[in-house]
């Protein structure tokens, strides 16, 4: 019998725990050409801002070994266009939508949360904290536990009680548990781990940075071990806080690794760029992985890696 893949996200029962990560599913229409969006656990939107945003100039992407650097710069239509056009379309297709929000001030985050709370059909809010704080010399909110906590407190305070708030954290910190702790104290309902790592590529032919924005966020399988470590540490510190695990998930085996580390949901990101039907494929592969280890429910393996080692551990397959 196939394992029960369902997951609970606040009030919503998700048919499965494989989500499309923020910024990797477009507005949903792009993805819908290749997968049934109603069968994706939930779609996390591109980070929505208060106003339309052009993002950064091209080149915005650089391929690196098993990774991708991007400095797209949150290009998007703004919350009005999102609510008028993208969200209704996704809901009409039966998708569950987690709305990722981004702002440059704490007020902007809170305002977005309030707007979304007035809207039907928002399953959860994911707070993208990897944004420059206009009131703190452009320092990213996610890098400072206190600032991150302030954003979460403001968002939680402006969000309808029945919409869960997830804080998306950056791994580019010395102590991710400290940031997670501040967010939990501020009332976050869950955590999304992890955002991209800041990286850079230089083209020897031109002797200049490849990206117009110079630095970019590194994603893809190259960062998966970092994601596993972050999920593990946060799970160890806050075993009761649900975690959306993301970072380089390419296969069902990768998804299982994050579940074992303590994530209760998985978001597939960069792999969607490589394989547009990745969400449905990873789900199928994860079902097979769970069947192979005899698990009845995906929820049963969450955090299992924190247990003691089995006596006769054969080592990972090669």
């Amino acid at each position: 019998m196939p394992a029960d893949m369902s997951a609970r996200l606040g009030q919503a029962e998700l048919p499965n725990l494989v989500l499309a990560a923020a910024g990797c599913a477009g507005a949903g229409r792009e993805l819908a050409q290749f997968v049934d969006v109603a069968r994706v656990g939930a779609l996390i939107s591109k980070s929505i801002m208060a106003e339309a945003h052009t993002g950064n100039p091209a080149p915005r992407l650089a391929e690196t070994p098993s990774g991708m650097l991007n400095s797209v710069g949150l290009q998007g239509p703004g919350v009005d266009a999102f609510l008028q056009r993208d969200l209704p379309w996704l809901l009409s297709r039966g998708a569950r939508v987690v709305v990722s929000i981004a702002g440059q001030t704490i007020r902007e985050y809170a305002g977005l949360a309030a707007r979304l709370s007035d809207t039907a059909g928002v399953t959860a809010i994911e707070v993208n904290l990897s944004c420059p704080n206009a009131e703190d010399a452009g320092q990213l909110f996610a890098l400072d536990p206190q600032q991150a906590g302030s954003v979460i407190a403001a968002v939680r305070g402006s969000t309808r009680y029945d919409i869960p708030v997830f804080a998306k954290l950056s791994p580019d910190v010395t102590d991710i548990v400290a940031v997670a702790s501040a967010c939990v104290a501020a009332g976050t309902d869950g955590l999304s781990l992890i955002n991209t790592l800041l990286g850079m590529a230089i083209d020897p032919a031109t002797m200049r940075p490849v990206l117009a924005g110079k630095y970019g966020g590194l994603s893809g399988p190259a960062i998966r071990p970092v994601a596993v470590r972050c999920v593990w540490q946060v799970r160890a510190a806050f075993p009761g806080v649900p975690i959306i695990g993301a970072g380089g998930v390419r296969t069902g085996r990768d998804a299982l690794e994050l579940l074992l580390a303590g994530a209760s949901m998985i978001a597939v990101g960069t792999e969607i760029i490589h394989d547009p039907s990745a969400c449905s494929r990873v789900l199928k592969e994860l079902e097979e992985e769970l069947a192979a280890i005899g698990a009845d429910r995906a929820a049963d393996v969450v955090g299992q890696a924190h247990g003691r080692f089995p006596a006769a551990w054969p080592g990972p397959p090669r």
């Binding site: 050409q33 290749f34 945003h53 993002g55 091209a58 992407l61 391929e63 703004g78």
Partner: protein
């Protein structure tokens, strides 16, 4: 509507400085319209190369249920891997993608301009144009003779075919744009279809503008997904409403009206683009973003 399939390699053959790869891909062949492209995942299932490689479709044929051919230059790890494939290998292929070339409603005199292997999509276009009673004059260019793609086909199928190479090893010496005005006058060109590097497209658009001839330009900007999710292949394009937007080449193009591309602002965010820093939405009647 594009599809994702596992295409089977029929042949990989060398064509002068390039390679042509033919895939059995019936679902893509039947949906294809000239100007569209496909993307391919390179390096096999454990590949460290995450970006899909995008290729304009050169030709589709009905044999084996439907085949798709594309032309490429093996110059990076991904394309070198493709060049090393053999018959019966399979490829994760998505297509057809992007907006095709618009076809004139009435019989028109069309100039088809291609530089390097960029000329590959022009031949399927010419076949489609002929069905509409349009004539095709070819103007092909490249660095050298071995980098001119399809000159023989152009000669056989076109009303006329001119070639220009930088080193003068084939046809006239100099850039393709050097021959453009003469052809426009002699052929009484009504519309230009161009597939070339950005600086050439910009020049082509400028010359065509002097003769008031519309240009359909297929831009070649690097893509990673081809489906519109990654937002990598953007360029500033003015809409018919006069508003500049940062649009994705893969879904809003790759074919654009040449006069609507902000050639001088490629690789920048123009200050007047919708959503640019300092752009004031309060002055605009409503949110008119169409990206």
């Amino acid at each position: 509507m594009p599809v994702q399939i596992r295409g089977t390699v029929l042949t990989v053959r060398r064509v002068d400085a390039y390679h042509a790869l033919t895939l059995v891909a019936p679902a893509i062949a039947t949906r294809f319209r000239p100007g569209q492209f496909i993307t391919i995942a390179v390096g096999g299932p454990e590949s460290s190369m995450l970006g899909r490689r995008a290729f304009a479709v050169h030709d589709v044929r009905p044999d084996h249920g439907g085949t798709v051919e594309f032309v490429f230059e093996a110059r990076g790890p991904g394309t070198r891997w493709l060049a090393g494939l053999r018959a019966r290998d399979t490829l994760d292929t998505v297509g057809p993608l992007g907006r095709p070339f618009p076809i004139p409603r009435d019989p028109s005199s069309c100039l088809l301009l291609g530089v390097g292997y960029g000329s590959a999509p022009l031949f399927a276009l010419a076949a489609r144009l002929r069905e509409r009673g349009c004539s095709a004059d070819y103007l092909l260019g490249a660095q050298s003779a071995d980098r001119v793609f399809g000159a023989l086909t152009a000669r056989r199928n076109g009303r006329s075919a001119a070639v220009a190479t930088t080193d003068g090893s084939f046809g006239a010496r100099g850039p393709v744009t050097g021959l453009m005005e003469q052809i426009i006058r002699e052929a009484r060109t009504d519309v230009i279809y161009a597939c070339a590097p950005v600086p050439v497209l910009r020049e082509v658009t400028a010359i065509a503008g002097r003769y008031d001839i519309p240009v359909q330009a297929s831009v070649d900007v690097p893509m990673a997904c081809g489906t519109g999710v990654c937002m990598g292949c953007v360029l500033p394009v003015t809409g018919t409403d006069g508003i500049t937007r940062i649009v994705r080449s893969c879904v809003d193009g790759p074919v654009f009206r040449g006069d609507l591309i902000r050639w001088d602002d490629m690789g920048t965010i123009p200050f007047d683009a919708l959503g640019a820093p300092g752009w004031n939405p309060a002055r605009s009647p409503e949110s008119r973003y169409a990206g």
